[in-house]
Symmetry: C2
Subunit: 94 residues, 2 copies
DNA sequence: CGGCATCCTAGGGGATACTG
DNA sequence: CAGTATCCCCTAGGATGCCG
């Protein structure tokens, strides 16, 4: 379960589900996330093999993040959890 | 995603996937968990509708916890994540 | 633009002791 | 057995500032 541990880890994977995103795109995708935390999470997820980091040596520099194949396999699982979460919420408190 | 937030929440759901368990059974299922945290997590998960709490008014008292239907739907998702996690781990070292 | 280094804080979680 | 109450501490994470 450590794969998706850390704040916003799931959101990062979620934001990447449709395709590659750049650092600041992710920041605006996930409003209340700080640069430091996003950076930390990105490093962890990259190291774990969940996502890939592509540096374009342009000016200004551009860095793209995308899910690896295994990272992509997390998406349906996350979807399922979120779905259950919504249903639980709509039930109120049982 | 708040559904499975909190330390050991996933483990609790995991331990209940095969059927009802009692408080101290869960404690020994998840070795380094403290009574306080287990208790806290159990309350949260019950309130969220993930699991059910059955008190048997016997002596000594007995309390059984079991997954609700929606709680049970989290199991396959957790399984998927754990599976990916293991594969990532095996890749990570070679 | 991307992202480290630094400082600081809240609160989640551990250990222990106690209760019914 | 199944918790609850208390204290303490650790660290994840937010804000800010600087650099390539």
């Amino acid at each position: 379960m450590a794969v998706i541990s850390g704040a916003w880890a799931a959101n990062v994977i979620w934001s990447l589900r449709a395709g590659p995103r750049r650092f600041n795109e992710l920041r605006t995708d996930i409003p209340p996330i700080s640069a430091k935390v996003l950076s930390t999470r990105l490093s962890e997820l990259e190291q774990r093999g969940v996502l890939l980091r592509n540096v374009q040596p342009t000016s200004p520099p551009s860095v793209e993040y995308s899910l690896t194949e295994l990272g992509g396999e997390l998406v349906p699982a996350l979807e399922a959890i979120v779905k259950v979460g919504h249903r639980l919420k709509s039930l109120g408190h049982g």
